[in-house]
Amino acid sequence: MSIFVNKDTRVIVQGITGSQGRFYASRNRDYGTQVVGGVSPKKAGTDVDGIPVFPTVAEAREATGATVSMVLVPAPFAADAVMEAAEAGIELIVSLTEGIPAHDEALFYNSVKRSFPDARILGPNCPGLVTVGECNIGFIPAEVALPGPVGIVSRSGTLTYQALKELGEKGIGVTTCVGIGGDPVPGMSFIDCLAAFEQDPDTRAVIMFGEIGGSAEEEAAAFIAKEMSKPVVAYVAGVTAPPGRKMGHAGAIISGSKGTAQAKMEALTAAGVKVGLNPTEAGDLMAEVVAGL
């Protein structure tokens, strides 16, 4: 078992004929992912390394039965691509593109939520997700990861890889690893992933990597305290780094005292989460948890 995707998940790639689309479609397929089609209006009818290219998501879905789309189109076209996927009935839209304007993100998130409440968005600006040994969608280098009892959820792309690495080095296996992305309006949140891990019988513990800014970690802490029976280990990046982007007074009012690494670590600790001060320490804490399972 796992969350969100598995060996039977059928995936299409929007933007498959771009250099990144081509590279990751092949790489994900080599991992074992069922990459069944691609979308490119201009190059429909051709193929990319044997993967058929369709003009629209609707036609790709009709022909292949795909339920997941990996969206790798340039930022100016990302909003339209996500909406097209939702309209075509795609259930999980994995938006990897970096640099999408915040107003576009806010608009497509709310449009999809209102008009297609069953569709889920992962990202934007996320590294994707991988169910170890079965299905890898996106950038995560998971070749060396082992299957096992731990779920991973992370906001930062490269820290997602680091989390996999820390566990891998200790011989700890993973069910599913999800990178939710750190953009202003992420689709799936920590809570969506934590809730799914709580329901998944094969996941017996969860490691969560957050970072400064916003209040997603505090919200996750409240959820963990109330709803999670499985042990959670966390790390929050930016303990010593200066706050990133200043949002002026209006932003400071929304976040109040929230947003600092210290506040996030305190909220998580209060929720019973074991918090490491760096990724390696978090890995060590998870090793202790796994030894006690």
Binding site: N110, P141, A237, A241
Partner: protein, 381 residues
């Protein structure tokens, strides 16, 4: 990108938000000319991107040309919390009956936009939020629906603005919403929004933060670039498309991804070092990006060792390695490099680096181990 007040007012004016007549001045003579054009009395305002300008003596009212000369002379060159004033905004002084506050920004937690209006403007709005949160009327705006006139009217009523100001404030909120959405701003804030004794409402200050990700559809933003005040290291980094924040330590940091870069700073601190900077080369960085990053770090005289921490996902190990080799040939690096390279094609990258390793380029397999090595090298120099 944060705009200066005068740029913010120019941006507001594009969307029909009323602002005072005025102009910019970089010299005392220019200031007098602008004041003559705006009509006395005028306000002489320091253009710096930091709060508390008034308290620091950066905002003065002048009744005539002599007073403009005096104030402009004092304010130009003034250091306000580390920001040196190079430019002034001179505008006709407004008669103020009441001062309000208005803003739009994104509420990340709610995933919707947030409008805020208060009858208690002109002062630090964070203090108002803390002491008297009910004095700020808030309303979430769904991006699908946008701000309606009903929303705007409810905001000014809930905030308890003087009824004389209602129509003017509603019109400004609607224009400010367009400035925020069509103008691709992360934040638009008017503090104070004033009501004059004649019953007119207009913006006396302008705070605008633009979303750099939307630059592709705003060619007009290029005008805002050439005057921004930045750390020379940050300016060079920006030119090379790198996310750089200058710090005051002695260990240069290069990492891919904001999270890993922050985490690298954390680990360096934990093993007893101090980062000289935060530098994120981003996803999919090429060899050229890495060489550029090293050039930026090399301009910082405080740097005594460089810690490159790369976990390749999109970024490929051989590109990172080639960039380092390129940089070694292109610039004479003042500090030794410790590199930790992992992820996509890491082995290929390590093989390229192996031929160049020396006491100036050291490869360490783990993040904590590499941080310790970088700190040890910084102490040794």
């Amino acid at each position: 990108m944060d705009l200066f007040e005068y740029q913010g007012k120019q941006y507001f004016a594009r969307y029909g938000i009323p602002v005072s007549a005025g102009g910019v001045a970089d010299t005392v003579d220019d200031a007098v000319a602008q004041a003559d054009a705006a009509g006395y009395p005028v306000v002489v305002k320091a253009q710096v991107q930091v709060g508390g300008r008034g308290k620091a003596g950066g905002i003065k009212v002048a009744a005539n040309a002599d007073e403009v000369r005096e104030h402009a002379g004092n304010i130009l060159g003034l250091d306000i919390k580390g920001h040196v004033v190079r430019r002034l905004w001179i505008e006709h002084a407004s008669d103020i009956a009441e001062e309000y506050y208005a803003s739009f920004t994104l509420d990340r937690a709610a995933k919707k936009h947030l409008a805020m209006v208060s009858a208690r403007g002109g002062i630090d709005i964070e203090a108002v939020a803390e002491e008297d949160p009910d004095a700020i009327a808030k309303r979430h705006i769904d991006p699908v629906d946008g701000l309606t006139e009903t929303d705007a009217r409810a905001l000014v009523t809930d905030a308890g603005l003087n009824p004389k100001a209602h129509d003017g404030a509603v019109a400004i909120l609607i224009a400010l919403w367009r400035c925020y959405t069509e103008g691709d701003a992360d934040l638009v804030e008017i503090n104070p929004l004033i009501l004059t004794p004649e019953g007119k409402v207009h913006a006396l200050d302008a705070k605008v933060t633009l979303d750099d990700n939307a630059r592709f559809r705003h060619p007009e933003w290029d005008d805002f670039d050439n005057v921004a005040e930045t750390d020379p290291r940050e300016a060079l980094a920006k030119e090379k498309g790198l996310q750089y924040v200058g710090l005051d330590g002695d260990i240069g940091i290069i990492a891919n991804g904001a999270g890993l870069a922050m985490s690298t700073c954390d680990v360096v601190n934990q093993v007893g070092g101090k980062p000289a900077n935060f530098l994120d080369i981003g996803g999919g960085a090429s060899a050229d990006t890495m060489a550029g990053a090293l050039e930026v770090i090399n301009t910082d005289d405080n740097v005594r060792s460089i810690f490159i921490n790369i976990f390749g996902g999109i970024t490929k190990g051989e590109d990172v390695a080639n960039g380092i080799v390129q940089a070694l040939g292109r610039v004479e690096l003042k500090a030794p490099i410790v590199i930790r390279l992992d992820g996509t094609n890491a082995e290929e990258g390590r093989a390229i680096l192996a031929g160049h390793e020396s006491d100036r380029l050291i490869s360490v397999p783990t993040m904590v181990g590499a941080a310790e090595k970088a700190v040890a090298l910084a102490r040794k120099v």
